[in-house]
């Protein structure tokens, strides 16, 4: 007796973007009524795989079959027609429209161009009833709570009778009670024969809800098993098991007295009672998964966001930081996570970008001293080996690595005593990465206190003296880096 073909079978899926091979031949199978958990670190390829499944990206190679029939998706509509619904991490609701309007957006029931609002409302009510929840059908979605918005998303996904629902980090913004409710709904979907692909970092949830687990790493499926055959350690080993192939420059570590101390930093649910110290000459890494609160913590200290509570002390003196200006004046510099959006004014010249936080000392009586500015920037161009044809080049024309160096030059000129590096080597080629590592080491050697946020565990292990792990806004652990420290240790704390 031949077994029925699986509901979904993906084989050898490959997808590359300029500069990065996101998927390198992924195989994945899914049976009807099954809850499959999809795990992997940041950058492992989960989002890309979901986008391929949802029809948003076309795979470069590989095959996809539904019920054994090979299909190819050329657009999200094709995927939807094949019965695949994706609920993304960022909601795609139009805030000003009501739930029924959002649910049927793009596929309105219409007669001669006029929308049949009554029919839509009835169908929406029906969907919510089957989910066992009541939602105000006339309120604009912006007025609903996050959990309610998510229910609208689920209803939207269910509206056209899907056979597979993909949920990407569905519980990131839910309370435990709401999470429980979501799990009940997933159970209901299962009993109807709908398969769910559940993407999450929260291992406790996986163990509660999933039937099977598949782990992605570096764009490949490195292992899958039924949930009852795995434990935490096994899962984590699958997620990180990679050799430290990259080289990280050695340095003489000479850690001095504590310079920056933060105590009880809080901001809503993003940062919850975070406290730590950074010493002179030390590189402290903030590790954790996306959404853990690392960038948010740095932004709070830097004054970019307003903190609900918490103290910031520099060399024992309490700082009153209410804006980036205050932090900069105190000697703190922040190299942002996204240099194009937050680190550079792309339309202006590199020289102007460099000068922006330094205008105070490069000008007299309000007039910029052009010669001084040019010489100062020239010094950094030499020292950091920034590749620019001339100082007037627009920042947007530089490569990622050179852009990052310009951002670094900005803060070096200020002689910051504390430097925050948020994902310092993201999107940067190998050669430039190494240079940036050398620069970081040099700064530490000169006695600066450095905090580095990085999602790449090898980078964390290669560069940091101490590692602070965050999860869900809280510090879950602190590790002194040394030869015996493993990525698994960090990951354990990161998934809590």
């Amino acid at each position: 007796m031949t077994a029925a073909p699986p509901l979904l079978a993906m084989a050898g899926i490959e997808k590359a973007f300029p500069g990065v091979r996101a998927l390198r031949g992924v195989d994945l199978e899914l049976a009807a009524g099954e809850v499959l958990a999809l795990l992997g670190e940041n950058g492992a390829g989960k989002s890309t795989l979901i986008k391929v499944l949802g029809g948003a990206h076309a795979a470069d190679a590989g095959s996809l079959a539904i019920d054994g029939r090979p299909t190819a998706f050329r657009s999200p509509q094709d995927a939807r027609a094949a019965g695949i619904a994706v609920i993304h991490q960022e909601f795609t609701l139009v805030p000003g429209l009501t739930p029924p309007e959002n649910i049927f957006l793009g596929q309105e029931t219409a007669r001669a161009g006029f929308v049949d609002r009554g029919a839509e409302r009835r169908r929406a009510a029906d969907l919510f009833a089957r989910l066992g929840v009541t939602i105000d059908l006339d309120a604009p979605c912006s007025r609903l709570s996050t959990a309610q918005q998510q229910l609208v998303e689920i209803a939207k996904a269910l509206a056209f009778e899907p056979r597979i629902i993909v949920m990407d980090e569905p519980t990131a913004a839910l309370t435990p009670a709401e999470v429980a409710r979501l799990f009940e709904i997933i159970g209901e979907l299962k009993s109807r024969g709908i398969a769910v692909i559940y993407v999450s970092h929260r291992l406790e949830e996986i163990f509660t809800i999933a039937d099977r687990v598949v782990v992605l790493r570096d764009g490949r499926n490195v292992g899958g098993a039924p949930i009852d055959r795995l434990d935490r350690t096994g899962l984590i080993a699958l997620m990180v098991g990679r050799d430290l192939a990259d080289e990280y420059p050695r340095r003489q570590v000479a850690v001095g007295p504590p310079r920056l101390a933060v105590r009880g930093l809080c901001r809503g649910r993003a940062v919850r009672d975070v406290s730590f110290e950074v010493h002179a000459g030390e590189i402290l890494a903030l590790a954790g998964l996306v959404g853990a609160g690392r960038t948010e913590t740095l932004r709070l200290i830097f004054g970019a966001d307003r903190r609900d509570s918490g103290d910031i002390l520099l060399d024992g003196r309490r700082l009153d930081i209410r804006s980036p200006r205050d932090a900069i004046a105190a000697g703190i510099g922040l190299l942002t996570e996204d240099r194009k959006l937050e680190g550079l004014v792309l339309g202006r010249s590199v020289r102007e970008n460099f000068a922006l936080p330094n205008l105070g000392r490069l000008s007299r009586l309000g007039f910029v001293e052009a010669g001084r500015e040019r010489r100062a920037f020239g010094r950094h161009v030499d020292q950091l080996r920034i590749k620019v044809p001339h100082q007037e080049e627009r920042a947007r024309n530089l490569s990622g690595g050179n852009q990052q160096k310009v951002v670094l030059a900005k803060w070096l000129e200020r002689n910051c005593e504390v430097l925050f590096f948020d994902e310092p080597t993201r999107g940067i080629d190998v050669g430039a990465r190494h240079e940036i590592y050398l620069l970081m080491n040099d700064l530490a050697a000169r006695g600066k206190a450095i905090v580095m946020v990085s999602s790449e565990l090898p980078e964390v292990l290669g560069m940091a003296d101490r590692i602070l792990v965050l999860h869900d806004g809280r510090v879950t652990g602190e590790i002194a880096n040394g030869p015996g420290v493993t990525q698994e240790q960090i990951m354990q704390l990161a998934v809590a």
Binding site: P324, I328, T336, E342, G347, R348, E352, L356, F367, K410
Partner: protein, 441 residues
């Protein structure tokens, strides 16, 4: 072509458009210009004197117009100085010339030359002089040399262009700063009206009306401008602190300011101000350049230095280019935005004062729709509405482009309704050309 030169052309590319327009209108208004000034008279006299060894006898013949009358006076003076004898002066029709010639012929003696204008020199009576009056000999008909020169390029006209656009150009300085920060200020036209009304009213009611002193008038003007600056400050505060979009805030202020102008003037034009008030708007003290034009040039010079050489200028560009990146680099974003809107208000106020000075009265109807011309000048000059880039001198070029088009159309007798259509289309074309010129970002 070096990178610096290429950048210069890119930044001030609209200059090419301005020069092209100038060329076009010069071509369209090319005309025979015959001089009728003292210099021409002098040349004619010298020419007559050169021809005759002894004291030449000259008949001056011009038409009866006042201009020609003045020219006749010039001729008489210059001929006297040159040592010629002015036998008679004819001012009128050819018949008068014929009568004069008959009189001279009867009195005996010859006639060496006839000093005439282009028009009178071609009278039939003179061309047939040799046959009709043989006794007079063969006098030379001397007329002023004429050149072909575009009416557009006459210095009067060019100064007129500059004077017409001075108010809009000055207001456009503030608008450029605001737009560079990524905002917009729709209230400038109404603020100009408010300023004109307030200045006039302060002069009338508190500085002594028609007897007001220079100090009183100055105080009134400064007060009016200051009020506009305050309104700009209010706009800026609402935009930065309450996060209301600039379009809405300045639109509301436009209505409020206009209403206030009507209230403060009771809907009438306030005209009880001294004659000397027109010094700014109509006077020309410096080498014959209108005072308003001089002020415009000075302000543009200062603004250019501010935007290109000072810290504040850098901050304005940074805030417009990427507000968050600027904030994270320590730029005091709120203060910078506030400055831009206050500056826009102050300069709009100054514009209103100049208008009041030009028209020797303050009326709430001034400056209607000016914000559109001001914005047009900024945009045509190459500043992107999205913010983050643009040059102050570019705005000056943009203002001149608008003024040149209007002036050119006047000179070529295009009627005013068509002018509006043409102006709108040209603004579109200028911005389109600008976008095509720039590489897509």
């Amino acid at each position: 072509m070096s990178a610096a030169l290429r950048r210069l052309l890119s930044d001030y590319g609209m200059l090419a458009v301005l020069l092209l327009l100038g060329l076009v209108f010069s071509g369209l208004t090319l005309e025979e210009q015959s001089s009728r000034g003292d210099a021409a008279a002098r040349r004619m006299a010298a020419s007559i004197r050169r021809d005759s060894p002894e004291r030449p006898r000259v008949l001056v013949a011009v038409r009866g117009t006042p201009e020609d009358g003045l020219f006749a006076e010039s001729l008489r003076r210059e001929l006297d100085t040159a040592g010629a004898e002015v036998v008679d002066v004819v001012q009128g029709e050819p018949q008068a010339a014929r009568a004069a010639l008959e009189k001279i012929a009867q009195a005996g003696g010859r006639l060496d030359a006839v000093a005439a204008t282009q028009t009178t020199g071609s009278w039939l009576v003179f061309s047939e002089l040799a046959t009709d009056f043989p006794a007079l000999g063969t006098p030379r008909i001397v007329v002023p040399t004429s050149r072909r020169w575009p009416n557009f390029l006459k210095s009067d006209n060019l100064l007129n262009i500059a004077n017409q656009i001075a108010v809009i150009a000055i207001m456009a300085i503030g608008m450029t700063m605001v737009i560079i920060t990524g905002g917009i200020d729709l209230s400038v036209g109404s603020l100009a009206a408010l300023s004109a009304v307030l200045a006039a009213r302060l002069v009338r009611d508190h500085a002594g009306g028609v007897e007001a002193s220079a100090g009183g008038m100055l105080a009134a003007c400064l007060g009016a401008i200051a009020v506009c600056g305050l309104v700009g400050g209010l706009s800026g505060t609402l935009i930065t602190l309450c996060g209301i979009p600039p379009f809405i805030v300045t639109l509301a202020m436009m209505l409020v300011a206009s209403g206030l102008a009507y209230i403060a003037s009771a809907g009438q034009s306030i005209y009880q101000i001294p004659e000397s008030f027109v010094w700014l708007g109509r006077g020309s003290d410096l080498f014959g350049l209108p005072n308003a034009v001089v002020l415009m040039v000075v302000l543009y010079g200062l603004a250019h230095v501010l935007m290109s050489r000072t810290t504040l200028g850098r901050y304005l560009y940074a805030v417009g280019g990427n507000r968050e990146a600027a904030r994270l680099s320590g730029v005091p974003v709120r203060r910078v935005l506030l400055f831009a809107y206050v500056a826009s208000g102050l300069l709009a106020g100054l514009g209103g004062v100049i208008m009041a000075s030009q028209l020797k009265s303050g009326s709430p109807t001034y400056g209607t729709m000016y914000e559109l011309y001001v914005i047009a000048a900024v945009v045509v000059g190459g500043t992107a509405l999205a913010g983050g880039e643009g040059k102050i001198l570019g705005t000056l070029i943009g203002a001149f482009i608008i003024a040149v088009i209007q002036n050119g159309m006047n000179l070529t007798n295009i009627e005013s309704y068509t002018q509006k259509v043409v102006l709108g289309l040209v603004i579109l074309a200028a911005v389109l050309a600008d976008r095509l010129r720039r590489p897509a970002s």
